[in-house]
């Protein structure tokens, strides 16, 4: 086990990244140093592995973004915001109590908002607004739970005592907002207005897994009994986002919704008490999802369009990239022995015995849908001819080749390595004769399905792709509160609160100060007056 420290050296448009891997013997030293700074070493191994993962992803995305953001005027700003995001994530990972968690959580929210709003148009602005407001709900819930934790006399997770149920509920709801589970999932597809490096780092492996990570940290409290809310919400999210991705045409949105689907799988497994499997799925998913986003970014840049219907023939133009898209899609579907297979298969097979019928059926249908839309992407991008005559053409060169290569090995081998580390290579789950081929059969059906369902009628596609009209609902219900909020701001914060607080203090201190300056100014009678006042004051005081 090792800690990876990485230095990002940013020089004038090139982003060089050096990963230093510190050997095992230094692990204890660094643990003790960090302990002196107040970061405890509870669950050090878990934290280290996630840190390693996010460092790997961040480093590769930074290299990739030097390719993607080439030619932008504000590249410096982008790089610094990404660095801010990465440091917030590290803070969140390494935090052992609710207070530093709050700092990392808020940092993630703010930096992801700024990164989404990078391109200057109304689309980005409104998407960023949806993101920050949804994340803000989660922030408020965590603040509330911090207030409740105050009564346990410690903000450390280990000491939850009297209000445990409500604290846990608040944490669960806030991780729902961060990980975009069902009531709060309107922001994730909208956040695709961000540049692709942002999507690949933020919306695939780090930001949205922050909520899952929090749940994993708190999982001992519901590991034995399971949590029905998590099971149901995870299954529903997984199903509905899969359905939405089935009818979606935008390449990045499909990948975002597939992320959402996998997040649902993670929540589902947490709700069943399978913490290690959820951690495993988090690990494996982060490895190939960032890669998938990066490849989609390459495709978008090389074709100039983002819509599925205008793409095609990418495999002859970018063979390397299209191969990696294929591998990632297969891994996402759960193709045997690739990275995504182990975790997904373990979760699905364990869920047969552990929960009621409905959530596990939803999970199976979402696996089917995953393979459907993944193969649809692969087919549409890679195979067919491109009928769009006005598209661009590009060769396969650029700095993105290195990150693709590095993460490719992670996507292929990562699952197996994790399995080796944690269980010595053999995990056995006993199922009936038919059910052990469940995942494989779903994948097969899913791959074949797009050949039969090539086009939708318009109304069906509208229903399917809007995720049960969720954005519409959340948009309309927040109208009145926002109106009241504007009134409160205008009359209160800019009105009498300002006059009674800051403005009042400012004016009065200026008046007092000018009084004192007057009393110390040069005219003789003023000096006599002030000395008289002071003597009187002293006489009456003492």
């Amino acid at each position: 086990m090792c800690i990876s420290l990485h230095l990002t050296v940013y020089r004038s448009n090139k982003c060089l990244l050096l990963i230093f891997i510190i050997p095992i013997s230094w692990n204890l030293l660094i643990k003790n140093i960090l302990f002196a700074f107040g970061l405890s070493s509870v669950l050090w191994l878990a934290k280290t592995i996630i840190h390693l993962l996010s460092s790997l992803n961040s480093s590769q995305v930074m290299i990739y973004s030097s390719y993607y953001m080439m030619g932008e005027t504000f590249v410096n700003r982008f790089m610094y915001m990404m660095l801010g995001f990465i440091s917030s994530m590290v803070l969140l990972i390494m935090s052992s109590d609710g207070l530093s968690l709050m700092l990392g959580w808020d940092g993630l929210g703010i930096t992801s908002y700024l990164l989404i709003m990078f391109y200057k148009n109304y689309n980005s602005s409104s998407s960023g607004m949806i993101t920050i407001l949804s994340n803000r709900v989660g922030d408020v819930l965590i603040l509330w739970s911090l207030g409740l934790m105050f009564y346990s006399k410690s903000w450390d997770y280990m000491f939850l005592s009297y209000f445990s149920l409500s604290i846990m509920l608040l944490f669960i709801l806030s991780s729902f907002t961060k990980s975009a589970q069902l009531p709060f999932s309107a922001w994730l597809p909208a956040a695709m207005a961000a540049p692709t490096p942002v999507s690949s780092l933020v919306h695939s492996s780090t930001l949205v897994t922050a909520g899952i990570y929090l749940m994993i940290r708190l999982s001992p409290s519901f590991e034995e009994s399971g949590c029905f809310l998590l099971v149901v919400m995870g299954a529903l999210t997984s199903f509905f986002s899969g359905l939405a991705a089935f009818g979606e045409n935008d390449l990045k949105r499909v990948i975002a919704l597939s992320t959402l689907s996998q997040l649902g799988v993670m929540m589902f497994s947490l709700g069943l008490g399978l913490t290690l499997f959820c951690y495993f799925h988090l690990f494996a998913h982060a490895l190939f999802k960032a890669l998938l986003f990066m490849c989609s970014g390459v495709v978008i840049h090389s074709l100039g369009v983002q819509d599925n219907r205008r793409m095609g023939g990418v495999s002859s133009m970018l063979p390397y990239t299209s191969y990696i898209i294929l591998v990632c899609s297969l891994s996402l579907m759960g193709f045997p022995y690739l990275s995504g297979f182990f975790s997904k298969d373990l979760i699905i097979e364990s869920s047969e015995s552990l929960c009621m019928l409905f959530p596990s059926v939803l999970m199976l249908v979402s696996c089917l849908l995953t393979s459907t839309y993944s193969s649809r992407i692969a087919m549409v991008c890679l195979c067919s001819y491109n009928y769009n005559l006005s598209c661009q053409y590009s060769d396969e060169e650029g700095e993105y080749l290195t990150p693709l290569f590095v993460l490719y090995w992670g996507a292929v081998m990562g699952g197996y390595i994790f399995l080796l580390m944690f269980s010595g290579g053999d995990v056995s789950i006993i199922l009936g004769p038919l059910k052990s081929f469940l995942l494989l059969s779903l994948i097969t059906v899913g791959v074949i399905l797009p050949y039969f369902v090539k086009s939708f009628s318009l109304s069906l596609s509208h229903y399917v792709s809007s995720m049960m009209f969720l954005p519409f609902i959340t948009g309309r219900t927040s109208f009145m509160p926002l109106l009241m909020g504007e009134l409160l701001y205008h009359e209160g914060d800019c009105g009498w609160v300002e006059e009674a607080g800051p403005s009042l203090i400012h004016h009065n201190s200026l008046r007092g100060s000018s009084l004192f300056s007057f009393l110390t100014s040069s005219p003789y009678k003023v000096l006599i007056l002030s000395s008289l006042l002071f003597t009187l004051f002293m006489y009456f005081y003492s």
């Binding site: 200026l510 000018s514 004192f516 040069s522 000395s531 003492s542």
Partner: protein, 296 residues
């Protein structure tokens, strides 16, 4: 040359005097040898300084020699040091002297009176309160940077007077205050700026940053050096709540006028500016920032 020699000799005499008479003698010598230094800059200020200091010396001599006037000792020393309500001379002198003289005035000229006050362990909450209030409020409406520094010296005097009960605390606070103040004044005098409006004319970034560090250190913001001495004063002394509240609030007010200087110089940086201030800037930052961090 001789005046500097006399001045430094008076400091030596101050710290090595065993009696009140020796202290008085050295303080007289101090003020008399400081007058020729000031007279090059401004005759009126030197006259004011001389008159105030000699009146204070007379009161001091009378109080140490006679028993019935002995209650006047702290008042005399407070007049010499420029504490409120006797701060008026300091304000009016600061307007018209140069930075060098002001530096001496605010730092080393206070050694003698502070020694005297520490001997009698003078902590009257009236003077602390009123110095804090006047020092805090007085600088708010100013635009002359020297006046701001003068009011800051008045407010720091209140903090100094808080821990007069222990000689170690007084000397610790005083030494740290001298270090910070000299680093700030060294930087401010490099660029020859007179008023707040001129701070935005363009100074180099490292200069503005180190000025800001020094001023925030004076204001008492963590993690700078100034914070730790104020924290020490609050923790190591038994203070009533009104005293604590007034001291902290006056610190807040002084943050306002320090920030005015720092922010106006930071918002308009330029690449040029005082080039020779590079080493000085780094040195001052070292004192203000790295020194407390090394203690951790």
């Amino acid at each position: 040359m001789i005046k500097w020699l006399c001045l430094f000799f008076s400091y030596v005499l101050m710290v090595s005097s065993h009696s009140w008479l020796g202290l008085w003698l050295s303080m007289e010598m101090n003020s008399l040898s400081f007058v020729p230094i000031m007279i090059e800059e401004s005759k009126e200020s030197s006259l004011k300084y001389f008159l105030i200091q000699s009146v204070a010396s007379v009161i001091f001599l009378a109080s140490i020699l006679s028993q019935s006037f002995s209650f006047l000792t702290p008042f005399a020393l407070l007049i010499k040091i420029g504490a409120a309500p006797f701060h008026v001379w300091l304000i009016s002198i600061s307007k018209s002297v140069s930075w060098k003289v002001l530096a001496f005035l605010m730092t080393f000229q206070k050694i003698g009176p502070l020694l005297g006050l520490a001997m009698i362990q003078f902590t009257s909450s009236f003077f602390i309160l009123i110095s804090a209030v006047i020092g805090g409020l007085g600088g708010v409406n100013q635009s002359n940077i020297r006046l701001i520094m003068a009011f800051s010296s008045v407010s720091h005097l209140s903090w100094l007077m808080v821990n007069m009960t222990s000689f170690f605390l007084v000397s610790a606070y005083y030494v740290a205050y001298v270090v910070i103040l000299l680093s700030v004044i060294a930087l401010l005098s490099q660029s020859g700026l007179l008023s707040l409006a001129q701070m935005s004319d363009g100074t180099s970034l490292i200069y503005s940053a180190s000025v800001m560090f020094g001023l925030l250190s004076l204001a008492g913001l963590p993690p700078f050096l100034g914070f730790f001495i104020k924290w020490m004063s609050l923790e190591m002394n038994l203070l009533s709540p009104t005293l604590i509240l007034t001291l902290v609030l006056s610190s807040c007010l002084s943050v306002y006028f320090y920030f005015k200087i720092a922010v106006t110089s930071l918002l308009f940086p330029s690449e040029g500016g005082a080039q020779g201030a590079e080493t000085l800037a780094i040195l001052s930052m070292g004192f203000n920032v790295l020194l407390p961090l090394s203690a951790l």
